[in-house]
Amino acid sequence: MTEVKEFTCIRCPLGCNVRATLEDGKITEITGNTCPRGADYVTKELTDPRRIVTSLVKVSGGELPVVSVKTAADIPKGDMQRCVQELKAVEVKAPVRIGDVVLANVCGSGVDVVATSNVAAV
């Protein structure tokens, strides 16, 4: 059975409209992408969709009450909400520097969550 699926690539702001043709669930053709990342994105989207998650964690003793964070790599798309929930339980102590690990191995994904801004201690 031939099936055609359309995607908007999110790997860069260009947002290519990428089309994947599947024969019995197997990808046979990918068109519409302007770079290899588009093909990679669609392949992953069909097999193991992943996202980078950004959120906040609480900070104690800092100039700000929260610090922005991100997953250091993409995690399974289905774990996004759970990732944010796990982060709600985390509180770090100021000072926090960009790149500091605030939570290791989030949702058992093997990916760490790192700070994306600096918060000085007060």
Partner: protein
């Protein structure tokens, strides 16, 4: 106080302009920033997707800002925080900046040159004329973003978003991840105002419906928003009776466009574009007032910060060049007699505007990036650039969308041979 260069705004545009000006040799410069830290709006844009052009990696907003803040620190560029510029005027060769802060009170700086980098502001409910009650719970998307991402507070639990600008889309995802229910995004136009990737990763990922050609026709609730009524609109953007749906909710976010913040430019008498709301600039990003340059969202609203940095670097370099010429000639450089001979750029047939608005071929580099936006969605269209009967450039595009900034590069060799004062027209030819 006197300064060679004052940069108004310490966001991405101001920082990049300052770094470039310093690298080009400007010693006596100062950044004035109204917030209590540098970085501007990037500080609250905690999502990723910044920097792919500039740093070849995907950064979050605060990380992108930090790269420039660090460069500014390494170059020992001075700045003043929590400082509001309240007036800007020209007195002979001086550009007089009136600034105030709690620490320093109110004071004047006489500057030889100024870079305008004040950014933009969101269109508010008042500017949109939305009917209905005026309860609490109505925020611009950027205000909500500040509450959530800087202060760590949720503005509501059940949300309707009007307008599909990028900040609204980003907030739809952000509030959903934080546990709120985002019911829908209504967009007046038949197309989205945001980036395609944001529709995909912020709405589609979370099954949030995007209602194109829809708008808010009523807001109910006396103390707090209780419901928002949305109706479909016809081709004249007028609500169609009988299509109303009432959405019970406690929050309405507005993401209905950004307006360059040019009150100061207006006080100085800088001519503004009626289309972008930003200053009309030449190839050197110089406004109609000599020695005053503009870059970033105060000039025209960008889709990507990477382009802001690129444009602001150019503006900073041009400010440095202006100062060098000023010291060499000891008179007003810049907008000299060649201003009248400048080529005038104009958009038509779908091209809304161009930045720059004028080009002096004798002042330009070998190539010049021209940035512009289109007024509707186009598929398989050609952007044509012509002067009179002569086609200078013709570029095929698969997709053109109002939410995305476009750019073309013009060559000095092509422009030099045009008669002085020629008009260069940018248009869509289908």
């Amino acid at each position: 106080m006197t300064k060679d260069l004052v940069i108004i705004g310490g966001g991405p545009a101001g920082l990049a302009a300052a770094v470039a000006a310093r690298k080009a040799g400007v010693q006596d410069l100062l950044i004035l920033e109204r917030d209590n830290r540098l970085g501007g709006i990037l500080n609250q844009c905690i999502h990723n997707g910044f920097g792919l052009h500039t740093f070849k990696e995907e950064l979050t907003g605060p990380e992108y800002a930090e790269r420039f803040i660090r460069q500014a620190a390494e170059l020992q560029i001075p700045y003043k925080l929590s400082t509001m510029v309240v007036d800007l005027r020209a007195e002979g060769p001086d550009r007089v900046v009136t600034a105030m802060s709690r620490k320093d009170g109110i004071y004047e700086i006489r500057a030889k040159s100024v870079v305008l980098a004040m950014g933009c502001r969101e269109r508010s409910r008042g500017a949109l004329n939305i009917p209905g009650y005026r309860p609490a719970g109505i925020y611009t998307a950027g205000t909500a973003q500040r509450y959530v991402n800087i202060e760590g507070r949720m503005p509501g639990r059940s949300v309707v978003i009007l307008g599909s600008g990028d900040i609204g889309l980003i907030m739809a995802r952000r509030m959903t991840l934080e546990g709120a229910k985002v019911q829908c995004v209504a967009e007046l136009q038949p197309y989205s105002g945001g980036l395609k990737r944001n529709i995909a990763q912020c709405l589609n990922d979370f099954d949030i419906p995007l209602l194109l050609s829809h708008t808010v026709v009523d807001i109910k609730g006396k103390e707090r928003v209780e419901s928002v009524t949305i109706a479909e609109v016809d081709e004249h953007l007028k609500p169609i009776p009988g299509t109303e749906t009432e959405y019970p909710c406690d929050t309405l976010l507005l993401s209905c466009g950004l307006l360059p913040e040019n009150e100061l430019s207006g006080k100085l008498g800088v001519p503004l574009s009626p289309i972008t709301g930003g200053p009309l600039v030449n190839e050197s990003f110089e406004t109609g007032v000599s020695g005053v340059f503009a870059c970033g969202n105060v000039l025209h609203v960008h889709d990507l910060v990477d382009y802001v940095s690129e444009e602001a670097s150019a503006a900073g370099e041009q400010a440095a060049k202006y100062l060098t010429e000023l010291s060499e000639t000891s008179q007003n450089a810049g907008q000299d007699a060649s201003a009248e001979k400048a080529l005038r750029l104009r958009g038509q047939n779908g091209v809304r505007y161009t930045v720059p608005a004028t080009i002096r071929p004798d002042h330009m580099a070998d190539t010049q990036v021209i940035r512009f936006r289109v007024g509707a969605n186009f598929r398989d269209a050609t952007i044509r650039v012509s002067a009179g009967d002569q086609v200078l450039l013709s570029r095929k595009k698969n997709v053109l969308a109002p939410g995305e900034m476009e750019q073309l590069v013009l060559k000095k060799a092509d422009l030099e041979q045009l008669p002085a004062g020629s008009e260069i027209v940018f248009e869509i030819a289908q």
